[in-house]
Symmetry: C2
Subunit: 255 residues, 2 copies
Amino acid sequence: MNIVIIGSGNVATHLALAIKNAGHTIWQIFSRTISNADVLAGMVGAEATNDCLALRTDADIYLISVTDGHIADVISNMPQVNGVVAHTAGSVSLDVLSRFSLYGVFYPFQTFTKDKVLNFREVPLLVEGNLSVARRRLRALAEDISDYVQKSNEEKRKALHMSAVFACNFVNHLYVQADELLSKAGLSFDLLAPLIRETTQKALSMKPKYAQTGPASRFDKEVINSHLAALGDDSLSYQIYQLLSESIMQATRDE
Amino acid sequence: MNIVIIGSGNVATHLALAIKNAGHTIWQIFSRTISNADVLAGMVGAEATNDCLALRTDADIYLISVTDGHIADVISNMPQVNGVVAHTAGSVSLDVLSRFSLYGVFYPFQTFTKDKVLNFREVPLLVEGNLSVARRRLRALAEDISDYVQKSNEEKRKALHMSAVFACNFVNHLYVQADELLSKAGLSFDLLAPLIRETTQKALSMKPKYAQTGPASRFDKEVINSHLAALGDDSLSYQIYQLLSESIMQATRDE
């Protein structure tokens, strides 16, 4: 298929590479910043443009992979095209694309970092379409790059996105907090590696609620208070420690 | 060496098995609940007791591995012994053991679940002692069961423990939250597996602060507000989402 990609960020980059590697042709990469478009276009042998009106109208699929806040803007500036137009966002309605005749959602459920290679075949891809022809075309592309393609709907996609914010974005932020605590004591984050590995492995091999350990799950107020005192009550870390401990205690009581 | 273990919980169980497997002899397992002592004693070929005064006084090392709140109680009830007495807690002072002549801390830095086998050789073990003879004896035992033995002190041990609460206990609680969101939408936690694996791998291969992604790190208020609305402001999940997003935005601004 012939594909146009709108965007040049993390998701756009990983998608473009996976699509190119699956043997499809990427005609154009659009980015408001032409130098960004140039870099990605160079990687996948496409034409770079920063002019919405220069987009070809005869591609099979247009993937809009820009930050959520720019999706509406991109859509209103695009020419009327014949292919299927899909965005890649977890929490943006399918309906924002209704000015096109064929449209959908192409949502890769993974965290992407530009310089980190990852195997796209293992990335779950959720597909929605306004008509079955749109859905089928997106699904065909999805199956060429991933082994975990799933039909979705707005409600499920949003639940997935929210769960990803908790299990990925927020989890990473807790690693950042842990890293800071260790730095302050002159210790390396590497010391945490076995613990982090084991925590992850446990969560993937049993229901996470049965894997809960730590002072809060033991209602160990003495340890909790000594940690809070060390964090200092003017810090966000203090508030995070307090709130998450409270939430763990509530979950433990509810069981 | 001849070892006495006080406690029969997760940590006591994993320690006892590792020590036994390293070829040492476990003389006694103490637990206030004799049936718990019996189970662990049976696994490591030791005598079970629920009577502090029945503890032998001539073991080389006594490991106190009970919940933090019970450590003081156990210590005051123990007979005066000749060996090194050590507790295994992350956030309890070494000084609570000062009624003994040789004492220390033997802190395994890992999360333990009773029924989950783990390779103790990969568990970092932090050792402290009141005198070098105590420290040396504990270190010798530590090196027999782990490849990552490190001399510690009170301040470092506390920082490590706190970082573990963030990177392990709190992380697991976020997995619990994600699991609940998915359940409500009729989706399986397994869908999150690739994302969780990638998040972990990224945190271990780069500084976590450079791996931060998600709506908050993009200051994407629209997505954040739509997620908050879906969570409902009477829930702890709502508060967690709000506070962690705020903290991510602050960390992103500070960079």
